[in-house]
Symmetry: C2
Subunit: 355 residues, 2 copies
């Protein structure tokens, strides 16, 4: 299958062919040092003839730098992460850095493994995207890895998760955060529902114990409390960020409170499942039950009825994270770059019946 692995040409081969020293070839390639024009031309020709490409490992080892930027995501198949990642790659696209995406599939140990791997590749920067498991142990392990990365000279950016606390409980030095206002968004959404007259509002949360989930639920509860609502009138069920969770959790919610007039979902994907289940039960959205999502993913505007949701400017946030990672943008004082969440009211929410 792989016939006689033909060793690629080396810099020494190029030097020999061009009749110069390896040092000169290196300087031509890196363009960081004056070289006579005709010498450079000869070297370039030799490079082409041998179809030489530098050995990235050797270069990184010798120069003690690398052009890798790692992006860690929870789920590549989820557009939420795809959008952030493409925003980051918008920024890295024109440069000589290689942005690479690692998928944890939501597993904390894989998050840690990618961090180690990036550490051993001596990555130039790493961007951790989306929520993380909110347990003291995991957070401590991440903080340890991140500190090691930072002290080895790697730029670390958090995008869509809360700032990391260091050993001293203060924010970890040298790490900037693009911080989504999940709590504020959750609050605005539920406040909107309350303003429409809803009093019995169910909530379908994403994976329990993840920062994103917790903050959104917290925002929801902020709004409820402000109006003296909550308790068994407003049950909360959690699952994962999937359509299936939307369906099964809605069944559970309606078992608990068949008279719910609104259901809020932890994200748009869940919301689609909520709508599908309600439809299957002969309940109309929003006439019978209002439904809302979170994130404003592209498909949300196309759902029927179009989804009321909270927009997070994912691509733009990714770009910001990318600029921060490349050092093209200075981190704000305190290292936190806030990203607002904007309520987007569409057709899936309406005044409660009889009001």
């Amino acid at each position: 299958m792989t016939q006689h692995p033909d060793p690629p040409a080396t810099l020494a081969d190029v030097a020999r062919r061009a009749g110069v020293s390896p040092a000169t070839v290196s300087r031509v390639l890196n363009g960081n040092y004056p070289v006579a024009l005709d010498t450079a031309a000869r070297v370039q020709r030799a490079v082409t003839e041998l179809s030489y490409v530098v050995n990235g490992n050797a270069r990184a080892l010798a120069a003690a730098t690398s052009d890798l930027v790692g992006i860690i995501v929870n789920d590549v198949a989820d557009p939420f992460f795809g959008l952030i990642a493409s925003g980051i790659q918008d920024e890295t696209g024109g440069t000589d850095v290689l942005a690479i995406i690692g998928n944890t599939a939501g597993a904390p140990d894989r998050e840690l493994r990618y961090l180690t791997l990036l550490r051993r590749q001596r990555a130039r920067a790493v961007v951790l995207t989306g929520g993380t498991v909110d347990s003291p142990d995991h957070l401590r392990a991440v903080a340890t890895q991140v500190s090691a990365l930072v002290s080895a000279g790697t730029t670390v950016v958090l995008c869509g998760r809360p700032p990391l606390a260091g050993a001293d409980h203060g924010p970890l030095a040298g790490v900037s955060t693009v911080d989504f206002d999940n709590r504020g968004g959750g609050q605005a959404l539920t406040a909107h529902l309350i303003a429409l007259g809803h009093r019995r509002i169910g909530y379908v949360a994403g994976p329990a114990n993840r920062t994103t989930t917790k903050l959104r639920v917290l925002g929801h509860q902020d709004a409820l409390k402000r109006h003296g609502l909550g308790g068994t009138d407003c049950p909360v069920v959690s699952g994962d960020f999937s359509r299936g969770t939307g369906e099964s959790a809605t069944a559970e919610l309606l078992r608990q409170r068949p008279d719910l007039t609104a259901i809020v979902a932890g994200n748009d994907t869940i919301a689609l499942g909520v709508c599908a289940y309600l439809r299957s039960q002969g309940r109309t959205v929003p006439a019978d039950v209002s439904v809302a999502g979170f994130d404003d993913l592209p498909f949300s505007a196309d759902a029927v009825p179009a989804l009321t949701t909270v927009r997070l400017p994912l691509i733009e946030a990714g770009r910001t994270a990318g600029r921060l990672a490349l050092g093209r943008q200075l981190p704000p004082p305190g290292g936190i770059f806030p990203v607002p969440a904007e309520l987007v009211v569409r057709a899936s929410t309406a005044p409660v019946r009889g009001i």
Copy 2:
């Protein structure tokens, strides 16, 4: 910001601390050679104490291998690619390889750049996913890069694009292909519409000149020809794989043939745009116009009406590509692994009116 980049511990540091030679540390770390138990224990302790991680670049350079598997995609934000990539990472997850995703944003030169970068990292394997620009120049450039990769010992897998031709026009040796039946799927879809009585069928294609687009259109035309249809009754407009294209192209299609009874889209995302535009014009799907997509992405079942489409088992195809890349599965004879496309009939297509 990055305070005193603290050089990470080296293998020599570990050796010193454990009171052994660097060679021994290396052997303990790689576990590929007998080492006395207590020696190994001492080394492990030193590793922990120094929180040592191997320098991947040095290792790759010395061992002339690497644990990188590159995945090249056209658009990370598109679930089509996300699903394939997550399938691949399902396979690489449990191993020590680091699967990394590079996003070309559909630009041929970025595809080439990633290939070069992967080549210089001496990647263990690379998987090229989705369609590519179908121009002789680009295909030749890709073939050149791929040959270089293969002869350097990298396993190359194509997933969702046609086999690559070598200089001799035969299939490139040592490259396996997970080949989607885009043409057959396109054919089945249009045949379904014809069976429903449709004779004036518009087509909204993805980016012209991409293999995926071309093959799907070809399948569509196969079906039309078989029934003596085509010509101005069946106009084709192309754009990109976006919702926006679905909207604008439908406007254009209806300008050309206001009496179209069905519209086929190059993928599900486009189909959503088609539906949205029709709705905005007061036309009902499928009563007035039938609409169909391609891919069967997760949201398609949730659209209202649910989308008739062609299912491509994206995750499973990704897994196959992953196994091929890791050498866990032998490439089939001829190097081509066919992936069938299955017609999925849902609510967005119906018999033509008056039949």
